[in-house]
């Protein structure tokens, strides 16, 4: 039974590629209103395949996907209006002669006039802090700038959900932090739910409300970051490594021979926890 605030519901969906390889298998997944959910799994686990299903780029071979209460079958080919996708490789997404033209592409496809599309595009560029790039050619942007423009290109369409495939891969720390802040801002200021596919568990720990561990095309565990990332067996059998903060905290408590009282998952939480431990001893 779907929740009232459920935007996307994936019910036991499977996808087999034409070459016979399995993309997702019996995948059950949901996205709620105003949440950031991270799909964490190693390469080839099915994260990107699931993301392409959310936007209607791929159709499940079996199972059912419901987006905004509409069953994602051939009668709902305009699901891109509600669910935007930011692709892993920015060069795949940017094709227009200028940044502004590229960001206007989605709003024009939505049926907005040129002027309306231009306004939406400028607002979206401002929201990601890239308004100064509007006249530039995408080819001459840095990797970080390209990523910001890609996010603006999807944000300009005002979707309810944005799915991002490896949003911080190949970025320098400064741009990675910018993208993390934009993701948080999408949820907090724009009320957009964000799905991120990543194997950067540190980033997932910092910004996600919910973590889903993906392995062999299925979600094998889901929950709050603290409950998932402190389950060492689960993380390691999934082909991942615990976030640095968790590894450090576990190492400290093990070395000092004390039990863990709380479960920090961000650097700030770790600092506060260690400071409290020092004061108590």
């Amino acid at each position: 039974m779907a929740d009232a605030n459920e935007l996307i519901h994936v019910d036991c969906a499977s996808h087999i590629y034409p070459d016979g390889s399995l993309g997702i298998h019996g995948m059950c997944f949901r996205v709620l209103e105003k949440e950031i959910v991270a799909l964490c799994g190693p390469n080839g686990s099915g994260k990107s395949t699931l993301i392409e299903h959310l936007n209607g780029l791929l159709r499940p071979s079996s199972g059912k996907i419901t987006v905004m209460g509409k069953n994602l079958d051939l009668s709902h080919i305009d699901i891109w209006r509600d669910v935007g996708v930011v692709f892993q490789k920015s060069d795949d997404q940017l094709f227009a002669p200028t940044v502004l033209d590229d960001v206007m592409f989605g709003p024009i496809n939505k049926g907005l006039t040129i002027e309306q599309a231009r306004t939406e595009a400028i607002n979206a560029l401002k929201a990601v802090g890239a308004e100064n790039l509007s006249d530039k050619m995408p080819s001459y942007l840095s990797g970080g700038q390209k990523r910001l423009v890609c996010i603006a290109g999807v944000l300009a369409m005002k979707p309810r959900v944005i799915a991002m495939d490896e949003p911080t891969s190949d970025l320098d720390p400064l741009h990675a932090e910018m993208v993390e802040n934009i993701i948080l801002n999408l949820k907090n200021s724009h009320g957009i739910s964000v799905v991120i596919a990543t194997h950067d568990l540190d980033m997932a720990a910092r910004i996600s409300d919910r973590i889903c561990i993906v392995k062999n095309g299925s979600i094998i565990a889901e929950g709050k970051p603290s409950s998932i990332f402190y389950n060492k067996d689960l993380i390691e059998t999934s082909g991942l490594r615990q976030p640095n903060v968790v590894q450090i905290y576990e190492g400290i408590t093990k070395n000092l021979g004390i039990s863990m009282e709380n479960y920090p998952i961000t650097a700030d939480e770790l600092i506060k926890t260690i400071a409290t431990m020092i004061r108590q001893n």
């Binding site: 392409e52 936007n55 780029l57 305009d78 891109w80 209006r81 935007g84 996708v85 692709f87 490789k89 060069d91 795949d92 997404q93 940017l94 094709f95 227009a96 002669p97 200028t98 033209d101 206007m104 592409f105 989605g106 024009i108 496809n109 939505k110 040129i114 599309a117 231009r118 530039k136 050619m137 995408p138 080819s139 001459y140 290109g153 999807v154 369409m157």
Partner: protein
């Protein structure tokens, strides 16, 4: 900037100059430059005089130079049009009526180069250089978004769509080929140096480039579909309009062209 060969126009460099937009000709309306290109093509098609062809070439070369565009590069880039023109004219220039300059006899064939044959060679050469130089001047002083918006407004679908979408794709494919050549050079290879002894490897690498290009095109298409692409891409850039001075310049240029072609008798 990088280039495949000094004799192939470097797309990166061309785009760099067009985007830089610091030349005074960058401020002229793209429509004016486009219409002047049409006028030049008409002039070249109707003109039969070598003197006019040389004059046109010098005027266009002066425009190119005044724009601050790289003359040395231009001379390198002439290689391709020269090969193209010579491959045609070296066949056409023989046995033209006129005063013989040079004769060549081989069994069954007698070839004579006359003054008119030589004139034909030079006229076509200067005409082609004028058109190539002006086209490069146009490309290097006009921002790509204006250029694509003009194509969108002038050409019918799907020609405009093919152009609008293929430009960036060509860019990416060239980048891929550049990376591949860099990788070859880094291990002691090179296009001309290695083709003879490593032709099989080159064939495989170029086949791989095609496959990768196809794969990339597929991903670009997917990313466009994800934003609602339905087969029609709209180029929304506003193109600066033609100013009064530009209308006047075009009128003067057209009048001069008509006068020179139809009313002036030149010795050759």
């Amino acid at each position: 900037m990088s280039e495949l060969s000094p004799h192939i126009p470097d797309l990166d460099l061309i785009t760099f100059y067009s985007e830089k937009g610091t030349s005074m000709f960058s401020r002229i309306s793209p429509w004016t430059k486009g219409l002047m290109l049409v006028l030049i093509i008409l002039f070249i098609s109707l003109d039969k005089s070598l003197i006019l062809a040389v004059c046109l070439y010098l005027v266009v070369l002066a425009l190119y130079g005044l724009s601050g565009l790289p003359i040395k590069k231009l001379l390198h880039w002439y290689m391709m049009p020269l090969i193209f023109v010579l491959s045609l004219v070296l066949i056409l220039m023989w046995n033209e009526p006129g005063k013989p300059i040079f004769s060549l006899s081989v069994p069954y064939i007698s070839l004579t180069l006359t003054d008119n044959g030589l004139l034909l060679l030079l006229t076509l050469l200067f005409k082609s250089l004028a058109s190539v130089t002006y086209s490069l001047f146009f490309l290097m002083t006009t921002r790509y978004n204006y250029f694509s918006a003009m194509i969108y407004r002038v050409f019918p679908s799907p020609i405009d769509q093919i152009f609008l979408i293929s430009y960036r794709f060509i860019f990416m494919t060239l980048k891929m080929v550049e990376s591949m050549i860099k990788a070859l050079r880094s291990r002691g290879g090179g296009i001309l140096k290695s083709t003879g002894r490593q032709s099989k490897m080159f064939a495989e690498v170029f086949a791989l480039t095609l496959i990768r290009s196809y794969d990339r095109a597929d991903r670009v298409n997917k990313a466009m579909e994800a934003r609602g692409f339905n087969g029609r891409y709209v180029a929304a850039t506003r193109i600066p309009g033609i100013g009064f001075g530009e209308y006047f310049t075009m009128l003067v240029a057209t009048t001069m062209a008509v006068y020179l072609i139809w009313f002036v008798k030149l010795p050759f």
